[in-house]
Assembly symmetry: D4
């Protein structure tokens, strides 16, 4: 059932019973609603995906398990599924965003979350510079990449354990830094809670933090910043 | 003792014994080091402040108690102290930043933190639109301000208790939203920890979070985004 | 062994060894004891169910896994099992309750818990209006349902993540609001603890909260309120 | 500045700069906005109070310290201040509510919170039956009051420490029970967090919980239930 | 390797490499070392069990999974394995203890832990009176057993969720009460942490608490009290 | 108002309005109700104290601040106030209890809590052997007292920080050990929470734990055990 | 891609894309980078292992599951895999370290973590004295080993539950003690968090702590101390 | 009362009633018992101090408030009190220790804790190199000190907030690193708990951690390592 709210403050949405799809979101925010794939059934994802593709000609599903992705890939040969990031994407924004987002990881095991951020940015029309495994225990690895990092418009730092990389990077750049704590670690790491709290209380100014393992959220905010550059004040 | 590090990767700093003042920071990041006034002694703040003014012709001290501010105001008649935000500022950036940051609060008691954000942005050269007491329990207060909020380049949401305002605002705008949890609340609020965690797990995309009561951090990141607009990709 | 306590303050119960079935509860509270199906063995559930049906001609089991439900459905062809809510019900209250309970969810994945609330209310004789997927990130979805929500006698809000929906709804209605935090979320959500604490510290007056994922508890209290209307002060 | 929002979905409010007073709330919910007195300045409380009295001819301020109450009592000789509950009230609802709310405490030290609940209900037009110091360690104290408790339309249980009273009461009545954890206790009590969590996980059905020490919230919801009885489905 | 420590302060033990078996414990405490079966390998348990039987002619293993118990039952036909409590016992104390321990549970699902307590007491020579499913939500079930409970020398209360039973029982008896929190519950129960903290902060005097699900520890301490009666001051 | 409940299951109590004094408790448990002095007003304590003395000819108040004790000492010249333990006692049990309770502390700063336990036991008719400052970091201090400790009927261990003393003592004796965590410590001690949790998870069997700083509770339970010896099974 | 950083402050590393291998670490710290095997893919471990062997002629992988170890053992017949410690080692340091590290465990189930520490030390050139199952509940087991413990240059204490062993050992020796909390325990143990906090707040001076189950970290630091002895101040 | 324990395993101590002074500790560990000044009374500290000076000719009191220090300084003109570190020392070890301990702080406000570490080391005979305010947000400050840090035998890192400095330093040196979390920070810092957990889960090998603000503990362990160098394996 398609509902139309005519009032000036109201938007449109598509009522699927289990879901009221916010089809007006692209107009409001520049991008269609993104589907969080976890805990949804396959028929739910299929129906939402079909509606999004029909309405916007592009769609993005996050945290989709491979066995859920397979039938969708069969139905949509142009869809792309990334095993590392668990992103299923169809199409992408037709408006290329200016600048570049540097996506850093402290270690190898943080890469899947970094790829979630990178894939989100690219789907939204942005460009990504991937700089992986530059954790601070071997500082030269990081310092050797300083120029690439400083050339970015926005910096995303993906790190687990104590998350120290974000404080070091925060002190090196004149650009906003978005920190993504990951659940990589054990014991005192508390499944990433320690990393998150540590990043929150970072000694570097200009850093903000998203939820544990929320590569999507960091990528989305970074793209919002590029979009602001594109559209102007 | 002034130290000069000539290596290409190294910066300058001023070694005051108890403090190594990062006098190179303005060159790197666009702004002088900001002094965190809490837990410092008056002589420490006085010396750092003097060095900053001498070096950069502007300075900002956060969380400075009135009894610490008084002697500094006597020495620096052009300094300005804001009782609500506890900011002591001297001068401001000579480069005006484009756009505007909307600073929202959910309630009246969140205003001091919002003022810390606003004062930081203004010292860094930005423009602020203050929109206070628009918490979601009376939704019309918020909706009546929708156009002002949507006109901003960046939105800062300052809220205590359950922090619901950030999720609602996050769904209304096409711009980055920075959330500041405040320690306003009691009991299950856990001195703002609940607010912080709730904002972290917000259902709105494009939201990032800074530490509890960290108005400065949110303002700083917002100004970084405006600075990016000013300087370009 | 059937025990009879003759004192005026005492009730009856049926001692099954592993369980003392509170067969007097219907007289005291209006409804038979409800069986919590989790962590019980099949023979335990079968014996309790048989006793309840024999004594009250109706019964309700919550959180019953499908493999436990199957043999009971064979024995009791009139029993009904709902896969989503995991409720097994037999019969229902013969006294229809006045008014209506609006059961809202913020997202699609909150629906099973909402169905547990709804099924409980219906078994107790009440009427439910299901209003699903009206989370605040797309506010118009909620506002389009405002009249339905305001027409209810009691409102149950089922939400995960930051649980912001409850604060918004709490400000819209003149009726009691019961909040059910769900364990939908990840990271800073802390398996629903954050949602629960956030709802507890909601800025809206007149809201109370039940345990995480406790749709049954919310439904039960809502029906108690309708029962009060039915029976009068 | 008085703002008028003419749209059908919008309400009125009074913009005081630091506060947007929700003057439409009485129409929506049956009662004027209640002022949370903690962390507000005296001039803020005075201005809000004056506006509320002018607009609604009644007002309620919670958690107001005696030194804040004194000047208001001078200005408003008809206002009443209760030292135990820290409530300042002016006038009360002109519509008497049916039924009665039983307000129980487990111990003597829980009484101030119980009085906050009781005073709120009375200001909203309801009737309260106070039943204090009936904690379960001396069960006969509770059982001697069973008839009074069962005669109430709604039961509020105010308890600290392990909060066991709520589970016992929950099993005795056919009416909704609202639990208020208090911060009375030490050590493992965790300033009431343990009490709150214990009440949440109570073995009695039909119980919901409000924030620690939130007597106001419990009283407000209880009055909402009585109001539902008054207004009908 | 058998080690003999001749010093007056030292005991004997049997060094098995991975384990130094405290064979002197029976002389010191009245009972052989009890084996905690969880996280040990089968060969480890077999060797320790053989040593204990050889040295003391009785042994007790706690938390032994059925697949670990099976080979031991084959080797020791006189050993007894209880599926509910996961206790494997061989022999028992030759000194019968006076008095009786009442072991109560709040619900059906607490019974396995209660059986661990009961089996431990019986192996140590004591007598147990099992009183199950007397949780406070149906208070008459408990009150109907008051005389049996008051007749015991020691009372063990096994309860999950909010653990309210312990406070009610604590107020009814003139004997020591040992509380065992169980991990039965969900959400705010925090896997029994809430129950444990609530029991700790119980309003009843004379109650002490053991670890979550630690039926063994409660049974052991209860038997120690009976042993004190047996041996005198 | 004196209330008499004639039912066989009911006790007597004295209704003081703010308090329902459980005057029947001595008959049920052997000892009058003990008054928790914290958070009560002086008039409340005075009235309860007067009632207890009148009814039982003995009374005990715990956690009474010196300024509250002074007026009571004036009114009751035979009352005794202990500055360290904050106990105010009047009279004591006329029935001497057999055996002896060893009260140990790990350090000097744990002594006030130990004295609360000791004073409680003595008021209840028991004998105490005080063994202070025997923490495990200097093990010989403890071992030099081994015989005194082993001669006790019950052992109370009062310790802060990591609470290791309880595990060592638990392995040395054949008697029940009651552990009292204290809030002595800092940082990772978490105001005694760590101590409490560590004692809970002690490797020694036969240990139970009371709330942080709850010397009264440990003393009370120890006296209950002596009373059991006195009265027999 | 091999990168050479010629600056005097910079090191070399080997950029494998997913990993920047810190091949300069042996020069800086005396030992090659150690590979954390958990959460890495087999191809990742294989490539890193090959690079390390090629560059340093020795390598160590921690927390490697048996199914990951098998193919590496086939490729490197001289590699050694320890099932208990989950260490895969190839070669060892050619510089024997002086002194000896005593590695103690409180119980049998702590041995795998102790072996991780021991294997790390041996790979780094040190000597280990294993002293297992000397928990404090049977103090004589520990005291019988006092001379061996006091003869060590460094002492590592591996313990779960309340971790009391570390405090007792800390008081017996004149050498640094490194504590390793293990996740052995249940309930109040909180998966080792309690053990860790308890060790942190130990009453013994000279104790430091590493992460839960981090045998590697403790072994590494112990070897660093031996290395200091070897190399001199 | 002086007690002499003649057994070979036992030490001497001096029983002061409230305290059993471990006068044998110097023989066992190389240093007299150190007095923790917090929560002790002045007479207690005076008596212990007198005994220590008489027995060892040196003494150290930690966390002594100035008003407690004043009378001791009058009695012992040779005693030294440091206002920053709150250490009162008398004499020092007559055995100079080899090597040097670098004590680093991240910020200015961490200096008091660093001074506690430094003063402890110096009293024990060691040499300290103080390197303050080298937090990672201005990395050059740290890198400019790299040679001094690498020249130390042991490195102590004192840091608050997210504690990132320890991970960076851990990667730069071939010596043991001891981390001291401080309670400097706010909000998500959780009074230093976050810092402590973050340091625990640091990505650098060879790092161990002491309690929050425990400069003494870190200094003590560092001196133990120097003592090992002095005495040899």
């Amino acid at each position: 059932m398609k509902q139309q709210n005519n009032g000036q403050n109201l938007n449109n949405f598509d009522d699927l019973g289990f879901c009221k799809l916010d089809t007006d979101r692209e107009r409001r925010t520049g991008h269609p609603e993104v589907v969080f794939g976890m805990n949804k059934t396959l028929p739910q994802v299929e129906l939402i995906f079909a509606k999004l593709v029909a309405h916007h000609e592009r769609a993005l599903v996050t945290r989709l398990q491979p066995e859920m992705a397979a039938p969708l890939l069969q139905q949509y040969p142009n869809a792309i599924y990334n095993e590392a990031s668990k992103l299923l994407s169809y199409g992408k924004s037709s408006i290329p965003l200016p600048g570049k987002v540097a996506v850093l990881t402290a270690g190898t095991t943080d890469i899947p979350i970094a790829e979630e951020a990178a894939g989100t940015i690219e789907w939204m029309g942005g460009t990504v510079d991937r700089i992986y495994d530059v954790g601070v225990a071997g500082l030269d690895r990081l310092l050797s990449q300083k120029e690439r990092i400083q050339a970015a418009s926005v910096v995303i730092v993906v790190a687990g354990m104590e998350g120290a990389l974000v404080s070091v990077v925060g002190g090196l750049v004149r650009r906003p830094v978005i920190a993504v704590p990951t659940s990589i670690g054990y014991g005192a790491n508390l499944q990433g809670i320690t990393t998150m709290l540590a990043m929150m209380t970072s000694c570097a100014a200009g850093v903000s933090v998203v939820n544990i393992d929320n590569g999507f959220g960091a990528g989305y905010q970074a793209a919002m910043i590029l979009q602001l550059m594109e559209e102007g004040a």
